[in-house]
Amino acid sequence: MKLEELAGKCGQWLKGSGPESDIVISTRIRLARNLADFPFVRRASDDEKVQIVKMLRGRIAKLPQWEQTAFWDVEELEELDRQFLVERQLMSRELADSDGDRAVVIDPQERFSLMINEEDHLRIQVICSGLDLESAWEQINALDDALESKLSYAFHEQFGYLTACPTNVGTGLRVSVMLHLPALVITREIEKVFRSLQKINVAVRGLYGEGSQFMGDFYQISNQVTLGRSEQELMDTVREVVPRIVEYERRARFFLLKESEQDLHDEVSRAFGILCTAKKISSEETLHYLSKVRMGVNLGLIRSVDILTINKLFVHTQPAHIQKLRGKHLSVADRNIERASYLQSHLTPKRDSEEG
């Protein structure tokens, strides 16, 4: 598989098809695992890192579920390709920027990926569309079992799965649910909602665009601790909190429709107009307006475009994606021009060909 092939497609998790997918973008689970017979990555010599990648690559190749996966040596990728995989959420910025032998293994449908020699020897990740903890857990648990049958993990009777950072020890599990909460932001209810969730063991964090502008409509909910509770219990804390936030967002949207439908309709239509007609546009501005348009589509205020297209544009308009899709390196100014033309070709109704 080539990265260019990946660029035109879109991951399974962007389909916008899972439960609550008007508000919940994705459910992601990752497991941190280490090999028992090597020092942790930070303490491993260059030679040991090479051995770790080589050994893992060999063992993974023997697993039936992994036959279709693509393997990338991160050190050999140029910066643009690394950035591309980060935007795609298939690897972390930390893996892209660190040094020494390291790799990423990717399922062609982008349902799961594996990072080798990030902070831990192994980081397994599964992403599903919408709110779907059960399916995400089922998949990652099976992947973990398969890997474990070929490897000896560092496991301690008292502390569980051992990790380089003690904040991940025990289950090594991090569940992250990404939420789109524009109405709570508009009605300025967002902080109140999160305050009302105090004492619940979850971490909430806003997501931000490329530049300096705050990109406030996306929030990620994840479990705060990893030790002392089972995987199911950790997922339960997230499973209980998310529907409550979703419910608040629905109420806020309903409130906006009831109290000021004209204003809301005006705002999302203007956002749509800018995306359809701009001749140059930054990625921040794009995210800002796409967020409004996404809500407009979900509320039936904009009907000429579907949610899958909008979800795809969130990823495809990011800097490395625009360059991969156009097949060349572009300056910031040229990217802004290409981004505007890309948006136009996907948002204006005259063409319905399946272009990327």
Partner: protein, 171 residues
Amino acid sequence: MKCQHCERPATFHITELTEPTGPHIVHLCEEHARIYLSQGSEPPAPNTLAGILAKQLQLDQTAEQLAKQDKKTCPVCGITFAEFRKVGRLGCAYDYECFKEELEQLLVNVHGSRHHQGKRPSRHVAPPDRQQELIQLRRQMQEAISREEYERAGEIRDRIRQLEEDQEQAD
């Protein structure tokens, strides 16, 4: 306004809605914001961890005890407790035994627990001493090579292979 980590102007103002401390704002320059945000869904571990550790250690130890504790060294990977405190990352699996006392207190502060619940590997877990021996032998082999003692390195390599084969057969 200046970046919290350097002298450059802060262009990123990030609101963290972390419970239970409630929302707080972090001011950062572009470079530090990138590092900060690249941590993704992870809690900003090294800083908070260092903070928790510092507090925990100050509470129940004298300066002398602290200095002594800082010199504690893992026999397998060679990391000292002071190094762990600085970077917030452990060096190898054996550190959980070697620094057990200190870590247990830290784990209680971070997770509210010191005992794992949940999944465990289904097949037998290889005896820890075997694993540590492998880590140590690989280090010794590297050292032998760097001292150009190739005969010795060869012997160690054979021993490593033997251990690795035993392990695969046990699988």
